[in-house]
Each structure stands twice: as structure tokens, then as C-alpha cells.
């Protein structure tokens, strides 16, 4: 699903690489936590998967494609198979919940009938059935994140990238979001989630990848947030 071969990333005008010689593989259907302090390279890792950046050295394979060799105009085709969720939800405030989810399908040219069918379905899945006429501003943070997840999942991606999806939410709400992500994972979707939330990582007992100053320092099946020093 995802394979990094000796990947390094140096941003222009910076001497210190954001990622150094990272190699790892994520299999289909896995749930992976990506942990590490700020500036450890988590975001760069995710951006490389999304092909927002290209690796400076090494190869990034996503869904069997070497992203370094994919031409720019083919990138959208790959992104359609990825779902993305962010800490700040990134909903469109002037569109209803339903329109926000439908937006992800409209802009890739899905038919009206298809949209009408899949939007209520996915809203049911995230536990927001019947709220499709509401505006994002009227919803709680947790609900907004569910809308964002619905939007990320409505095109049935094979891989879901979540960048600190619980970063703005209280612990109880976060648990709900994690349950939802777990349920999505059980449908066969691979989930890669960057997080700072120690409790969640410790509770879920999933694979943990830890980055520190751009290096891969830990890759542990059924891991916890950090070693107790």
C-alpha cells in the first residue's frame, strides 16, 4: 500500500533534512499511528504520500505507483484513491454538511444520481444521518470532524490519511472519532494517522511509527505512544 525506500526530503533553502533515509512498508488494511514531536517529520511524511512534495532521495510508492515517476497531471488520479482528514476539518463554511460531502464527488465529475445515493449513506456511516441540511458552523467540533471524515471517505478511498484528527477535540469526542476511524479501517481501508494523543495511541494498540528529527526511530506492532524513560 505504502512503501518508502531510503527516502530523504530536504526542503529548498534548508540544510537539515526533514526526513532522513526512511524505509518502511505499510500493508493493505493496516492501521498505523505516526508519532513524534513537532518538527520530527510527520507532516513531511504525509505530504510525500499525498504527493504534495517529492522525495529528494529514495522512492515513495503509494498504491503500487512510484510517486517520483508519476507525472503531475496523473497525480489527481492517485489522490482520488486517498482520503485526507485534518486537525482543522477544512470544511466549506458556506455549504451545508451534505454539500460539503457532495463537493468531493462533484469536483471529480461523479454523476448527480451517484452523489444523491452515496452522500446520505456516508453520513449515516459517520453517525450524522439526517443532518445533511445543517451548516458546519452549527455543529460541534466532533461533528465537524465527522463531516470531514465523511467527505474523505465518500469516494471510498483505499487509504485514509489523518493528520492529527483529534488535535482540536476533547478526549471524549476524540474516542468517538477514533471508533469511527477504526470502523473505516475494518472496511478494509488502510489508515495512517499522525497524532500527539498519547491516550489514544496507548488504548488502540496499533502499529506505531515514531520519527525523531527526520529519522525513523521506532516501528512497533501493537505499540504505545512512547517509551517510559
Amino acid at each position: 500500500m505504502i512503501r518508502f525506500d531510503n527516502v530523504s526530503k530536504v526542503y529548498p533553502k534548508q540544510t537539515r533534512p526533514a526526513l532522513r533515509d526512511v524505509s518502511l512498508e505499510v500493508e493493505r488494511g493496516e492501521f498505523v499511528f505516526l508519532v513524534g514531536s513537532s518538527g520530527s517529520g510527520k507532516s513531511t511524511f504525509l505530504r510525500l504520500i499525498l504527493r504534495e512534495e517529492r522525495a529528494s532521495h529514495g522512492q515513495v510508492h503509494v498504491l503500487g505507483k512510484d510517486l517520483g515517476r508519476v507525472s503531475n497531471w496523473k497525480v489527481p488520479q492517485i489522490r482520488r484513491q486517498l482520503g485526507t482528514v485534518f486537525q482543522d476539518f477544512r470544511l466549506l463554511p458556506n455549504k451545508t454538511v451534505g454539500e460539503n460531502v457532495a463537493f468531493a464527488q462533484e469536483v471529480i465529475g461523479k454523476s448527480r444520481g451517484e452523489i444523491r445515493k452515496s452522500v446520505p449513506q456516508v453520513l449515516d456511516l459517520v453517525g450524522l444521518g439526517g443532518k445533511d441540511e445543517r451548516m458546519p458552523g452549527e455543529l460541534s467540533g466532533g461533528e465537524q470532524q465527522r463531516v470531514a471524515i465523511a467527505r474523505a471517505f465518500v469516494n471510498r478511498p483505499k487509504l485514509l490519511i489523518a493528520d492529527e484528527p483529534t488535535g482540536n477535540l476533547d478526549p471524549q469526542t476524540s474516542v468517538g472519532i477514533m471508533k469511527l476511524l477504526d470502523r473505516i479501517n475494518r472496511t478494509g481501508t488502510t489508515v495512517v494517522m499522525a497524532t500527539h494523543d498519547q491516550n489514544i495511541v496507548d488504548q488502540m494498540r496499533k502499529r506505531v511509527i515514531e520519527l525523531e528529527k527526520g529519522r525513523l526511530v521506532r516501528d512497533q506492532a501493537r505499540g504505545v505512544y512512547g517509551y517510559q524513560h
Binding site: 497531471w73 489522490r79 485526507t84 466549506l92 463537493f103 469536483v107 471529480i108 465529475g109 469516494n155
Partner: protein, 305 residues
């Protein structure tokens, strides 16, 4: 591509940048009106050239008895048969000459009567006061100088006149006007392009959330850019439409009615509606393509796809 989605995006975008859109429309309208105007002006010049140049002759006026007394060119007396033969023979030898016609004093009198009719001057005129002349049609009307240098100052020749000399000044003036219109047009065009680039930048910035999400869910570059490009194209098209109205209005009010130059300057053969109508599709096409291209170029800079 869902047309309705794109259309609603365009409408929202145009309304959001109303002032900017307005500026784009006006600058496109002005620059294209000038563009069309200068195209029409050169049509007009061509038409006038066609009208006059056909009739242009170089005329060699020969000395008559009156000239022999008053004109220093004719100090050697009126033209003789021998001189006329010589001039005619020389003219026929010149390669630039297409045709030579001789106008006798009687013929000159007849033409004069036709042109000026019963004016008081005409009634007191007698044929022997007029000049005999050779009317020469040249293969290339620009070659007037060749004739002038060959025959000016020859015995029996009073003067060599180039009918197109007068018109040249008019054409030169129109040429300058055309250059000025072109320069103003170029400036307006640059202004229009800069406005479009800026509009696109503002538009891209205010819609960065949408475009960001579009990118993430895998909308194609074309789908992301289309609303911006169409926005510029629609604004341009409106401007182009206004430019067309200007041109048609100009033809209507300046030439046909209103100021009605075609009535007041009947010697000039003005361009007709067919010339104006022929320019409109070109102007509309430019009004769509140019802003669209400008937007496309601007997007490469301001919109990451």
C-alpha cells in the same frame, strides 16, 4: 465535467470580485474598441486609396501663351509641336508609364466646364487660357518622382503635378492617428492583462479553501482552473460585447447618422457596415481568448494544482 457546478462557481466568483470584474470589463472594452477602431481606420484608408489612386495621374502641364509672359518656367515661349512630340516619345520610352493621354486646350475647357459648371469664373474663361497637358497613368503610382525629375524644367513644360501629393498628407495623418490608437490600445491592453492577473490572484486567494479541498480529493487541474479561466473569459466577453457596441455605435452616429460624415464629406467614400460587421467576430474572439490565456498564465503562479 458538470456544467452547472462550473457555472455557479463562475457566477459566485464574478460577484465576489465585482469591482475588479468591472475594471476588467471596462479595460477590455476600451482596448478592444480601439483595436477595432484602428482596424476600421486602416480599412478606410485602403478604401480611400482605392478610390483615388485609380484616378491619379501625373499631369504634365504645357506652356500656353499666357504662361509665356508670366511664368518663368515658360520664359522660352509656348510649347511647340516639336517639343510635344519629343515629350510624348520620351514618355512612351519610360517603363513606369502605363498610358499617356493628351488633353488639348479644348478638352481642358470641356472638363473644366463639367466640373465647375456655371461659376462666374468659368463663364469668363476661354479655351486658350487653359493649358494643354499630358495625363499619365503610371504602373506604380508611387513612382511620381521619376516623371517629375525627367520633365520638370524642360522647355515647354510649365509644371509636373502629382495629384496624390495632397492625399498623401491625409493618409499620413490617418496613419499617425492609427499609430496613436495602437499605442493607447497597447497600454489599455497591458492594463487589462494586469487587472486580470490581479483578479485571478485575489480570486484564487479567496477560494483557496475550495481549491485546496479540490486538490486533495483529486479534482483534475483543468477542473480546478476552469472556473477561474471562465471567469476571466466571461468578463472579457462582456468587455468585447461593449467594444462591439462602441464600434457599431461609431459607425451609426459618426458616419451614417448623427455627425453624419458621409453626408458632409461626400468626396470621401466611407466604409460600410459590412466592414464593421466583419470585425466583430474577431473582437469577440480576442475578448474571450486573451483574458482566458492571461488567467491561465496567472494561475500557474498563484494556484497550485
Amino acid at each position: 465535467m458538470r456544467a452547472q457546478f462550473v457555472l455557479s462557481e463562475i457566477r459566485v466568483g464574478l460577484r465576489r470580485n465585482l469591482t475588479m470584474t468591472f475594471a476588467v470589463i471596462i479595460s477590455v472594452a476600451l482596448s478592444l474598441a480601439l483595436f477595432g477602431g484602428s482596424l476600421l481606420m486602416s480599412d478606410q484608408v485602403n478604401q480611400m486609396k482605392g478610390y483615388w489612386y485609380d484616378k491619379v495621374n501625373v499631369s504634365i502641364f504645357l506652356c500656353n501663351k499666357g504662361d509665356a509672359e508670366s511664368d518663368p518656367n515658360c520664359a522660352k515661349g509656348p510649347v511647340t509641336e516639336e517639343q510635344k512630340k519629343q515629350i510624348l516619345a520620351d514618355l512612351h520610352k519610360m517603363s513606369v508609364v502605363e498610358k499617356v493621354q493628351h488633353e488639348s486646350q479644348d478638352e481642358a475647357y470641356k472638363h473644366y466646364k463639367e466640373q465647375f459648371g456655371d461659376s462666374p469664373l468659368a463663364s469668363s474663361l476661354t479655351p486658350d487660357q487653359l493649358q494643354e497637358s499630358f495625363r499619365i497613368k503610371l504602373k506604380d503610382p508611387e513612382k511620381y518622382q521619376v516623371i517629375a525629375t525627367a520633365f520638370n524644367g524642360r522647355p515647354g513644360v510649365q509644371s509636373v503635378q502629382d495629384q496624390k501629393g495632397v492625399l498623401d498628407n491625409l493618409f499620413r495623418l490617418l496613419g499617425y492617428l492609427n499609430w496613436a490608437a495602437g499605442a493607447v490600445m497597447a497600454v489599455m491592453l497591458v492594463v487589462a492583462l494586469l487587472l486580470i492577473v490581479n483578479t485571478v490572484r485575489v480570486s484564487a486567494f479567496s477560494r483557496r479553501r475550495e481549491t485546496g479541498i479540490m486538490r486533495l480529493v483529486g479534482a483534475s487541474g483543468f477542473y480546478i482552473q476552469a472556473p477561474f479561466i471562465m471567469e476571466a473569459a466571461v468578463a472579457g466577453l462582456i468587455g468585447g460585447g461593449i467594444a462591439c457596441v462602441f464600434l457599431a455605435g461609431g459607425q451609426y452616429f459618426v458616419i451614417d447618422h448623427g455627425i453624419a460624415l458621409s453626408d458632409k464629406l461626400q468626396l470621401i467614400n466611407f466604409i460600410g457596415w459590412d466592414a464593421v460587421l466583419k470585425k466583430l467576430p474577431l473582437i469577440l474572439a480576442v475578448s474571450v481568448v486573451m483574458p482566458g490565456l492571461a488567467a491561465f498564465v496567472a494561475l500557474r503562479k498563484y494556484l497550485k494544482v
